[in-house]
Symmetry: C2
Subunit: 368 residues, 2 copies
DNA sequence: AGTCATTTTGTTAGCGCTGTCATTTTGCAT
DNA sequence: ATGCAAAATGACAGCGCTAACAAAATGACT
């Protein structure tokens, strides 16, 4: 007959008691060693460590979560249209968590954004996460942040829009954008178009401001007609392409405020047989893998998203770890700023001497 | 002074006891309702549900995990070079988990694959997952599967290579590949190149076989020289491009066994000024977002990865749920097969009348 | 009304840890 | 040796839930 014992996989059946017994100490001491608490004699610590290894013990996270005050889990709430962005963010967050012995719990939010703050609250109370990693655009919704603060749930934001105090990492969108414009202007472009991003996303405003700043520095005039409002998706880029390439006097360069839009624009340009970059320079933003798979490879701004998410998670973990320290005092909330260097690839070049529409013939766009 | 009570966020402080009291029943009855156990009078059930809502209660996962035999968490182990693939798989898995009240725990594996089975084992025992979702290539490593079976840990595989019994979902790679070849042959192509995938990945072999099957059906000869061995990354595609486009008699169509390689190939073709699809037809496999951002948009095979992962997770959850049922008897291990339809876009067309090199080669002519 | 199987509900003992506080040991100055 | 603060260790009570079992209520039959 079958023993009616243990249905569950018999992994990790070793408990703290076994370790304690093996090491000849009390379970409390084992617990101390496990949690790196002070006041354990080095020799004792070593004995416990040996026992842990000998028995291949690893603590039961449920038991820890139940007995302790933390779940050792941090949550990542997302609603981001770009798989690449998100994937890199997840990877970074996960790396930091794994290093700290935490786990990462994902949570999607519905596209309709209805009742966002409540959904977040509910996720937090269901999952009992110790903190939250917020990536755009969720990190820019004040009601969500308010709710989190009200329940004293620590969070860190990646690329936040506002100057709200709190943990976070960001990139200097403004200057990076300005740099793109400087690059284009340096190449000799005078009419530089811009495709702005999703109005709800943090980076949208600062990238637009960077564009203006760049214009200003290059002593070029800002022209409302050269700014197309997009949504960070490739379809926006296509529509922008239709708009710009139909213009009476089309810009000789277009700066799309993310890569997806730049790719969409590039498609339209190809469709219309414009030669890139000879007839039109295009720049993107983000340096997603996409920028290397389109043709020509895209000039863009590199955003170290994985690193940013990793760092944001570290800050968050530090903050959580610090909570039970004595110093409850106000520690300066940190926002770290990462470099976002310009990566010049194949889609930007000096403008053709005279700006003229493409030859526009079906076959021989590739004459020399 | 600060109250030294409760450092932790006071969300979800409501316990099963509060609910029981509010509903006027015992905690066990609440537990029954929560877990959908039978033998609860509908009126009682309703009363408990009301209390749950009134108190905005949600059970503490740690407590459940500790008391019960399951952690309500499933693990996803990954090492996949393609962010798109992975992202879709994660999304699908997460959807299924959310729907079932489970959470998804991610785990990366190091690129060096050292000691894989042990790493997986360790992850399982640390995280206490109830089951594992395995995506390529991890799902095809026998030692890992052996280890999992030995500890009786249920798993489901996405797109497994071998015929090993067990849960899984796959796509009919063989026929999808054959269909691509049929499409190409139907267009009039006689020399059709193939870029194979990473030798460790499951799909590699069946896609190659599908290619051969397609050739056979179209009464074309299999030519070893027309098969280039790649690794599913875009660099492979580039190298394949260098190889094929340098050939004495280049193929008029090339079937890359995934999109990334197709994109790499496309880049090289552009670099060399081949007109696509007029001078060279290209087909991919997977239908990643990439296939719509490259130019021209790629003809490819649509793989419903999100759906597959979702379904695999459902099967896994069913299996886990079924475990505590009476019927321990062998239930037929299921492998569900999904359709992978061909999506014809802009990179395939009938071959030019005579096969000839592009106009603008650096020097020579290659006969006509 | 009485019996008994069946359904419904309740009682209680942990699950494996951590927090609190008590106790022992140690180091060091008398 | 002796005393005493500080360091090291231990005892034990839960954390919030589920499993196993016990008890009560119900209802279909005599």
């Amino acid at each position: 007959m079958t023993q009616k014992r243990r249905q569950r996989p018999n992994t990790g059946r070793v408990t703290i008691n076994d370790v304690a017994e093996h090491a000849g100490v009390s379970i409390k001491t084992v617990s101390r060693v496990l949690n790196n608490e002070p006041n354990v004699r080095p020799s004792t610590r070593a004995r416990v460590d040996d026992a842990v290894h000998a028995l291949d013990y690893s603590p039961n996270p449920s038991a820890r979560g139940l007995a302790g005050t933390q779940s050792r889990t941090i949550g990542l709430i997302y609603d981001n249209p770009s798989p690449n962005y998100l994937f890199r963010a997840i990877t970074g967050g996960l790396e930091a968590c794994e290093a700290a012995g935490y786990s990462l719990s994902l949570q999607t939010i519905p596209p309709d954004w209805s009742d966002l703050a409540n959904r977040v609250t509910r996720f937090v109370s269901r999952s009992r996460v110790d903190g939250l990693l917020l990536i755009p655009p969720v990190g820019d919704v004040p009601s969500v942040l308010d709710a989190l603060e009200q329940m004293h749930l620590p969070y860190a934001r990646v690329a936040p829009l506002d100057g709200r105090p709190g943990l976070g990492v960001s990139v200097d969108d403004l200057h990076a954008s300005a740099q793109v414009v400087a690059h284009l202007a340096g190449l000799g472009h005078r009419r530089i178009g811009f495709i702005s991003g999703h109005p709800d996303h943090g980076a949208t405003r600062s990238r637009l401001e960077g564009y203006r700043l760049g214009l200003l520095r290059a002593e070029l005039e800002y022209d409302q007609a050269l700014v197309f409002e997009g949504f960070f998706d490739s379809d926006s880029g296509r529509r922008a392409g239709d708009y710009f390439l139909e213009m009476q006097q089309a810009p000789s360069a277009i700066f799309a405020s993310n890569d997806e839009m730049a790719a969409g624009l590039l498609q339209v340009a190809h469709e219309r047989n414009w030669r890139i970059p000879e007839q039109l320079s295009i720049a993107g933003f983000d340096d997603t893998p996409l920028s290397r798979t389109v043709w020509p490879p895209l000039t863009t701004v590199h955003q170290p998203i994985r690193h940013m998410a990793l760092r944001a998670t570290q800050l968050l973990l530090e903050r959580i770890g610090a909570e039970d320290d004595a110093n409850v005092g106000e520690r300066p909330p940190r926002i770290e700023v990462f470099d976002a260097p310009l990566v010049v690839r194949g889609t930007t070049a000096a403008p053709a001497r005279t700006q003229q529409p493409p030859f526009k013939t079906t076959a021989e766009s590739k004459s020399l």
